[in-house]
């Protein structure tokens, strides 16, 4: 019995979670709380008006919104869009120095100190979620006090993007380890997921059939953005049910 338990624990320890996110568009209101939560968590700098006018803002997550129809029968389609953490990521093979690759848990990771700033990845990303640092970020004192010490500041010349809050994944693993237990569903909540007032977002291990995210994927409303491109995103959208 004891042996079995030990074996189980070992199996558990070897288990590699496959991270995924499900966003229920029937819940999402477009409030953009997730956008500010992300900036706050990840030290995403503001660009200022002049840089913004050149399209150089960094929004690791944004709300795409498109109008459909004409007044008065007008609708708006909108969705939060962040790095889709593609399994077949178009950004990866074009990087000459392997600064971006998919890790064992399915995260599309960006190694800032390997990045040489060719921006090929950003150009090849169909979701336009990669951002080049044209300048070193600046925070007028004492705004720098808000910076999260868990997340590195990106220097000029490198590309950055949503990490699925990789540092929170790491922290959750360390916490679970310290408590001598396995990571449980819901332990990892990226900043956007944590913040969402409508509880539209769910994050977890898609290979764990009991996880919330796995259940959402099986809801029958689930699809991916630009699915036809074959990028196999790890972000799934549950379409509005009407």
């Amino acid at each position: 019995m004891a042996e079995q338990t030990a074996e189980q624990t070992e199996q558990g320890a070897e288990r590699t979670p496959q991270w995924a996110m499900a966003i229920d568009l029937d819940r999402c209101t477009g409030c953009e709380a997730c956008v500010v939560a992300c900036a706050s968590e990840n030290n995403v700098p503001t660009a200022g008006e002049d840089q913004a006018a050149m399209g150089r803002t960094k929004h690791w997550i944004r709300i795409d919104r498109y109008y459909e129809g004409e007044f008065p029968d007008i609708k708006v389609k909108y969705r939060p869009v962040m790095c889709q953490q593609c399994d077949e990521a178009p950004c990866e093979p074009v990087c000459p120095v392997n600064a971006t690759y998919q890790n064992a848990e399915g995260l599309n990771v960006q190694i800032y100190n390997r990045c040489i700033g060719t921006r090929y990845c950003a150009n090849n990303c169909p979701y336009t979620v990669r951002f080049f640092n044209w300048f070193a970020p600046e925070w007028a004192e004492p705004l720098n006090l808000q910076l999260n010490p868990d997340v590195s500041i990106r220097p000029s010349g490198v590309v950055e993007k949503c990490t699925f809050c990789a540092h929170k994944i790491k922290r959750a693993k360390l916490d679970a380890d310290a408590q001598g237990r396995e990571l449980a569903d819901g332990d990892v909540q990226p900043a956007c997921v944590q913040s969402c007032p409508a509880e539209a977002m769910v994050f977890g291990d898609m290979t764990d059939p009991d996880s919330k995210v796995a259940r959402q994927l099986g809801s029958g409303r689930s699809g991916q953005l630009l699915e036809s491109l074959g990028t196999k995103p790890r972000v799934f959208y549950l379409e509005k049910a009407d």
Binding site: D26, R27, T29, G30, C31, E32, A33, V35, V36, A37, A39, S40, E41, T46, A47, G48, E49, A52, A53, T57, H59, R62, I63, R65, Y66, Y67, E70, F71, P72, I74, V76, Y78, A140, E141, P142, L143, N144, L145, Q146, L147, N148, P149, D150, D175, G186, D187, Q194, S195, C196, P197, A198, E199, A200, G223, L226, E227, S228, Y237, A241, D242
Partner: protein
Amino acid sequence: MDRRNFVKLVGTASGGAVTGACGRQAEEIIPLLVPEESVPVGVEQWHPSVCGECSAACGTLARVMASEREIEVDGELVRQKIAAVKKLEGNPLDPVSGGRLCARGHASLQSLYNPDRLRGPLKRVGPRASGQFEAISWDDAITEAAGALAAADPGRILFLARARESVRSENIARFLEAVGAPPATSIGVGDFAAERASSERVFGRSGLPLYEIQDSSLVLSIGADFLGGWASPVLYSRRYGHMRQGRRELRGRLIHAESRFSLTAWNADRWLPVWPGGELALASAIGHVLLGEQIADTPASVVSIFADVDLEKAAGAAGVPAETIRQTASELAQASAPVVVAGASMVRRNSADAVAAALALNWLLGCVGKPGGVIPPADPLGVLARQPRFSQDWSERLEQAAVVLVDGVNPAYNAPASQGALAAAQTVISFSSFLDDTSAFADLILPDHDPLEQAALEVPAVSPSPSIAAAGEFVAPLYDSRPIATALSELAEAAERPFEELTVGQAVSTLHSAVESAGSETSASDFEATTLRDGGWQGQPSGKPPATPGTLGTFEIAAKQEGVMFQAYESPQFGSGSGANRPWLQELPDPTSSALWGLPVEMDPATAERLGLVNGDNVRIRSEYGALEAPVYVNPAAIPGVVSMAVGQGHASYGRYASGRGANPMVVVGNARDEKTGCPAMGPTPIRLEKIAGGARLVQFSRQDRDLPPHRV
């Protein structure tokens, strides 16, 4: 409390003494409230706090970690270790936020660490509104302010503050009592005066009703942009999510009536684009049709307000086809759990009537006090009875005032017509942390601590159950500011008036005796410790507060106002304009126009075409009250002939991120008021438009309004 929260929440009680080994001089100047050795580098603590950005009063958690800042001591730069707030999240134990936050809540961190915060008290040296100030010591500032107060006729002391039920409000009330001045008044921004007045009329109970939309099958909201900022956006967004997808068996539907395509309209299954000012006509018409459906036992006074409505005429005044009204009413009548959310996100001349008529529809639907329906306001907790309330004559009193004290409101911005009176007042004293539009008129600025730097206790505007949000102190103030209660008590002392500050701890003990009196096992000190540790207290829902219609009176439906109309509105990120100095919010795309670092005038494609305008062109807008110039956003969802603009930009003075940026729509809206409550209206105001050359640029995050294939799932 789930495990995660258990891990996160730690007690806030900690002394002010510095016991750190390092003992550098700088640390003695501004002691850490959380002793530094208890915040090891890289280790986080979560302290409960209360969001002060809107009257929802969400309970939050502040992530506190060790940090460093540079300060000057005797002309030398030293690094000072401090406990800094790194992030704000919702407090999962709080019944309003439920662990979530809105964009403004997150960005309130950029109030605490805003580079333009005032470092200490200031005295004006140049003309009013010139922005010329010089530093003054607290002692001198208090002496000067107390002198002005002592010299003034107490009846002509005017305190303008936010209408919040909080310890802060109670202290303002105590202070005014001590100096013999009349109670504080709000300026009618963000305090839902029309909604409160309507609840009094329709339910005989004051306060804001609670909408149980999470259990509704069909929600009709009239005038209430409840997902975009009205009343309690986080609470209602949570409830909305549940209404849509939280129940296996039922997906609730939403019909939204408003004169612009707001966030709530985005989310609606059907949007009823009602002509601004036509909300009363719409509610009345729906009520009239519902009467024919005979669906509930309705109090006679309610029946009487809808009986004589002429449907066709009302439909015309609302700008909504009679057929759509009939269909909406019949869907409501057939719904298993309908509810009508009644509000005035944009106050009109007839808002008190419009909100009352919409609220009264709930009597016709039989959903008052029912699951999925509306719960009339419960009895107040009675702990903090004296919050500032909107009083109609504030602007007249401002004109007569000898001393004007201002806290948390910005009349020079939200009611630009008040600038003349502010310029003429004998003495203006501001407690603002920023040199904003109104404090630019002040003679003395006695800057308050940031909300995150002080203890707080507030009753939320609406809550699923009786509750308060409370916070102790956990980070030391960055600058030479003082909590307003301290400043008031010093002012009272200098004026030799008896003033006793109400502390958060005392308010919690009062609450304890109010709610735990009957056979309670919790001791007062346990109660206080638990309340401050959890960030608040929550009682049992009071069941079904009894309600009967008060005096409803008669409603008069005015004909539709013809011509091009202008309306101002509060956007989700800027609220009444206070969000404009947070860079995160400036760089957050405006949901409607996708604008960054500026807000455009929104108009429909036909009006734009008639004037030869495309996105980014500039217009001059003129009304009988004033004029503004701003870039245009051609909004495919704007009602033809209705021009809208969000409040937020156009601050004459509000720090580097907001000052001199864009235009203030309130200048054009003018001083129209809701006729019954006197609450400032946000339009409709007849305007004239003309294209102008040059002007401000429209910076958009996304210039594209229409999807291009293959951008779809």
